[in-house]
Symmetry: C2
Subunit: 200 residues, 2 copies
């Protein structure tokens, strides 16, 4: 397709179109929006990209994203060091922290095992988790991965690796989402909710 | 809401969330994607923003976006200078050019009249259009704005301004989209298609 926009604009559209979930039309809209930003705003957008890439890296302990060497959660003296909650992505830490219930530590895998996408144990931060558990002081590891095939496979794999260290391994409860309606629950969820029924 | 991400990452998320149609969750996903880009790719994204802002401006004649003083279409000797197609946005020029049918010039208003959004004639590139028409040599002005209230109001307003110069003013045909199905056409479109029926 021939280009009907100036080169620099086409280039910016291409950059936006490279982002996940952004098609060519959306990319155009975003690029036009950026062109129309007040003086300095576009520059500060560009700076934000550079700054994020330059200062954000993974915590040497839990592998969560941080701008310090050790992230605030791992560094906090108020957190329970006997619990490690294992999540797939940094955003999952944010989700659980928002609940303000959990007070242990985290471990971020940066993905899940996925043979189809050629993601094996060495592509995830699994050995770092094993090191933490083997170092002692950990009583429970809570697997908080997605309740799908890849998440469950990954949970099983990690569970088998760390149980020999005498640690208790648990997973999140599956069931009907709070506030939702039985009518809209899929069969698998309903089945899981039945299996996991608790006495009242 | 407390922040669970490093400051630079929160800042980048905020920048993405400022874009039209991008919510907080999508902004997070985009920011994580940018963090995970190969070395140099994030920098080239940032550079693309800066470059687009620095080099892209409006053509002094048709007000379309360009990186030259006069855009390639206005500068081309192959285009018919007696026709001006009036569109609301630069992307509309791209849409019409893709059809490879139209060979006249364009005029980009950069919006439409919208009393509700406080957009009046002085906020659009209307006086520039009047100057072009009054300079002579223009035989037909084709209004190609959206077939909605604002588009039609703008077309009527401009039509009344430029007709005194003895120019023919037309608008795009309204009707059933090619390849679509009568069943799915809304009442207004169907009504317009009936009104605009042509002899076979």
């Amino acid at each position: 397709m021939a280009s009907f926009f100036p080169t620099a604009l086409e280039n910016l559209i291409d950059k936006f179109a490279m982002l996940p979930g952004i098609g060519k039309k959306s990319a155009q809209r975003l690029a036009f929006f950026v062109l129309g930003l007040p003086e300095g705003e576009a520059e500060s957008f560009a700076d934000a990209i550079i700054a994020a890439r330059a200062t954000v890296h993974t915590c040497v302990v839990c592998q969560n994203l941080t701008d310090a060497e050790i992230c605030p959660i791992c560094a906090s003296e108020k957190r329970d060091r006997s619990q490690i909650c294992v999540v797939a992505e940094p955003r999952d830490v944010a989700s659980i922290e928002r609940g303000r219930e959990y007070n242990g530590l985290y471990h971020v895998l940066h993905g899940v095992l996925s043979p189809l996408s050629h993601i094996g144990p060495d592509d995830l931060r699994i050995s770092e988790l094993v090191s933490r558990v083997s170092a002692g002081g950990v009583e429970e590891v809570i697997m908080a991965l997605n309740p799908d095939t890849e998440g469950e496979t990954t949970s099983m794999y990690i569970s088998r690796l760390i149980k020999p260290f005498g640690v208790k391994v648990t997973r999140l409860a599956y069931g009907i989402p709070v506030g939702s309606n039985l009518e809209f629950a899929d069969d698998a969820t309903l089945q899981r909710a039945l299996e996991g029924r608790v006495e009242m």
